[in-house]
């Protein structure tokens, strides 16, 4: 057998008849059987997308202050506190990003880089109804383009808001129950899981 990486909700996605492809060592859900409906949910309603395959590189210590201006291909930086930040990295760019940051780290005292890709589950909640779903689970308020840390459904999360919805990063062990929480809260808005195909189109 070849090692294959699976997100924390892989078995839940399989239950929803997800179709998987292997990319960058991950089994990723591309659709749940109806790409058009998933796309409609993203555009007009609300959809839940698993992003467990995103890489995460945590930076700790004194060098965090200098990282916001550091360009890393395929990655975005989110500063959590002055001495703790996280790079969210596309899986294909993860190795290069890690190497680049390690070289940037060398010689810096009290500064650390930790690959936490396996520690986080990540979801996108997309669509015009995304805020309506989220407000059932959390009192978090975050502006478009900003991020914050908050409790969502009782789970501590990093919440990032885009113009299309919200992205959540949280402890991987909560993946299954967070999936349930979002799907349950979104039921009244016709939430549906969406795969990469709907996202790409």
């Amino acid at each position: 057998m070849t090692p294959v990486k699976r997100s924390s909700v892989h078995h839940v996605q399989a239950h929803h008849h997800a179709r998987f492809v292997e990319r960058n060592g991950w089994e990723i859900a591309t659709s749940y059987g109806d790409v058009a409906a998933e796309k409609t949910a993203i555009q007009n309603g609300v959809a839940l997308v698993d992003l467990g395959w995103l890489g995460k590189l945590e930076c700790k210590g004194e060098w965090v202050a200098s990282l916001e201006s550091q360009p890393v291909e395929g990655a975005t930086f989110k500063k959590l506190i002055p001495t703790h930040g996280m790079w969210i990295v596309q899986p294909e760019a993860l190795d290069a990003a890690e190497k680049k940051l390690e070289s940037a780290l060398s010689g810096k005292s009290k500064s650390y880089l930790i690959n936490s890709s396996s520690a986080y589950a990540s979801f996108d909640l997309l669509g015009p109804k995304a805020a309506d779903v989220l407000c059932k689970l959390s009192s978090v308020q975050v502006a478009v383009g900003a991020h914050t840390q908050a409790t969502v459904g009782g789970v501590h999360c990093l919440v990032i808001r885009s113009e299309h919805g919200f992205q959540f990063h949280f402890g991987r062990e909560f993946g299954e129950c967070m999936w349930e929480f979002f799907m349950d809260a979104g039921m009244e808005f016709g939430i549906r899981p969406a795969g990469l195909d709907a996202l790409a189109s």
Partner: protein
Amino acid sequence: MSRLSTPPSSTLVNRSKPLVFEYNGRRIDACEGDTVASALMASGVDILSRSFKYHRPRGHLCGEGHCPNCMMNVDGSPNVRICSEKVCNGMVVKHQNAIPSPEFDLLAITQKFDFLMPAGFYYKIFHKPRFMWPVFEHFIRKVAGLGVVDGKTPPYRYERQHLRADVVVVGGGPSGLSAALGAAEAGASVTLVEQDSFLGGHFRFQNPESSGFKKVLELEKQVRAKSNIRVLTGAVAFGLYEGNMLGVVQGRRTVRIRAKRVVVASGILERPFVFGNNDLPGIMLGRAVQRLLNLYGVQPGKRAVVVGSNDRALDVAADLLHAGVEVAAYADQRERINDSLESVKLLKSKGVALLPATTAVSADGKMHIRSVTLGPVAGRGENIRLDCDLLVLSVGGDPAIHLVQQGGARGFFEEHRVEFIAKRLGEGHFVAGDSNGVHHEDSILLDGRRAGLAAAQGLGSVDHAAEIADLESRLSANPAVVLNPKTMVAPDGSGKRFVCVCEDVTEKDVCDAIREGFDGIETLKRYSTVSMGPCQGKMCQMSAIGICARETNRTIEETGSTVSRPPFIPITLGALTGRNYHPHKTVPTHSRHAALNAKVISLGDWLRPEMYSNPAEESRAVHERVGLIDVSTLGRIDLRGTDVVKLLDKVYINSWGNLKVGRTRYGVMCDDTGIVFDDGTCARLGDQHYFMTTTTSGVDGVYQWLTSWMAGTSLDVCVTNVTSGYGGVNIAGPRAKEVLGKLTSLNLDSKEFPYMGCVQGQVAGVPCILFRIGFVGELGYEVHFPSFYGEYMWDVIMDAGKEFDIRPFGVETQRILRLQKSHIIIGQDTDAITNPLEANLAWAVKFDKPDFIGRRAIFEAKKQGIKKSLVGFVTRHGEVPEEGTQVMENGYSVGRVTSARFSPHLNKSIGLAWVPTARAKDGQPILIRSKGEWVIADVVTHPFYDPEGARMKG
């Protein structure tokens, strides 16, 4: 009572969409849009309930969800006010607090014994003789009280919602709509909260030809068109809390709204009038009648008498005439009735007797009003008696200022308006319309806009001060309208004169209580229970205050009012708590355990397999072949930096300076009072890189402990909780090395990878951290891998172990195996007062270290001597005592059992227990009291299985 032949254009009911529901086993026809009350009244049901104490028949009264008269059990949910509950097809509605029915109630016998129930009767009678109280209590509880929770009804789904808004407007009536529109036009994001299912407030249920009705329709259209106004209908703001947080309940959903500004435009609470038999079915408030006529198309009676005190009452009388109801008379408490009003002209044209300075004195009837006696307001002069089946009371109301009062405002009584007005409002709070004592139709709209603009002032870039000033000047130019009469009590009249319909408190009860010395409004409330029922004073507070003022020769201002506290309306506990999110954790191999039909239990929020088959079979596999257990739930903390050893020496009681790379050590942590709070292992992966494991439930506490002790120091240590990042399994048993050997090229020889060794390397192509650890007492390898490989790793290990008949084992088997080795579990075998010396961990305490957390306390404990010890025991006759049961000596408890199991391998019942240190010797008998039986056991001070550890050390 029946449906109007032609529904008004303002109706909410769609007669083309019939619905059916069940009331007390009877089929009731309704239409879409009906409330349960409107449908019942259209079907001729006029007695909706029995009163709280005297079981008097009660009918539709307020129609706005305030009074207790229409409370029923709807689909298993008690105390639902059916005047606000929309009909759903197939719903089941039952009466409550009447045997067998509201129409014929055996409990009405209590009316004959009303002399036993004066004000504060529970302080005076029934509690003596003392032994009779349980009998009385049983009866009183049966007779009094509200609905009963039906335990068979499945729990409802409750939800919670969090919203934010610049301005929240409470009340969707004319002033609320104007306020919302004003604030929205000023650029604020607005949330409009309306109790009813429709917008428009009392203008909406006026005659559809009225100017008010047309104005609110237009306002609603404008509000709906605004993208920055969120409208919540069927939602009641029940509390205004610190920081302008509003608690709102919308059906079974609790909405918490954080607002920058709050406008309260919740109108008035229409109130009844105190006169003889004022609680008879057929006596309704004016707004209840208008709702029935203009919203639901139901005719509430055939022949009506209207008693009013303001021009709105004239509109009610006119509406009745429009609906074909005969109006026998219109009595107004004012000295003069304005002849120029269109409504007065209509009444006169229809020959309705207009009686100024007249009020209701008493009503007659047994189960329904048959006649009313009217008399002069002054109390001197002739009374007249009129037959009727409907008496409408439209005698004003109290501004609904409860929310702003909760926010810090005070109610000041305005003598000329006869109502309490909110002043000294809290920061960011505004009041508008009827709630603000503004009752003129045009002024209500102007005041709403003024409040909306004022609330939005400063939130946007545009200054609206000029428009606000203009609105204020226009408001002052409009005439002031007074709704309320000078008194809320009729001068005389026969029959019970109810002040509080919720608690069956009469005027006599209130007067008696005052005479007994309870003449302060707060003590009067508590003693007489007036205003303590389901309406919480909405219907009765002003009457009670008025009577109290009259009886004590004080003004109403001097008498004061009671304090308003949340919730404004009764809320179910379910709605208050909302949906409870209790997140559980799943291990990376969760799906595999499910596929194996493991019995999964919740431990420290984790879902863990307790067993797959049975502990005997699973433990045999571990002892004889090989077993696999998921240990992903172990806490894991990554430590890096030049000062890790300093930190470890600080937080552990044992020493870490001499730990070599590739070695693991068991460690114990104590708090500063020397109490053991966690244990685990710590491995040195590199020169400045350590990997700590903690107990499953202790990792968050340990992480905080480490970081808190780091704070303020200059230690160079990077502490990261990596529990989520790793999955873990323990391959245990004599064939474990062979199974693992199939998957890795690492040298597993005991010389290269000895007991308590650790190594990093590839297992089945996956980068892993491996430990040789023996928690279950056999040769064991703990393998930690990135959690996204969880399913893969489980599969490859199970596959590799097939030829050795590998078995997965669960937590229950692990507990037996660790007990055989006398390995303790912190938190189960220890408690909040256990120091390491007592818990057989003295070997780990290194007093030769310069310092560690708890050192001083443990040292003192050692000096004072150890009085209790944790020991193993074997029961003589195979009993397994319950965990937590007492170890007894001479009739006293001297210890307790912390763990006990039957060991299939040893064929003995074994356990751990706290005993006096004098008893902590091999073979000492101890006596355990378990499940009411005596259990004799013998102390064992060494591990029950493989005491030398030869098997796990390999």
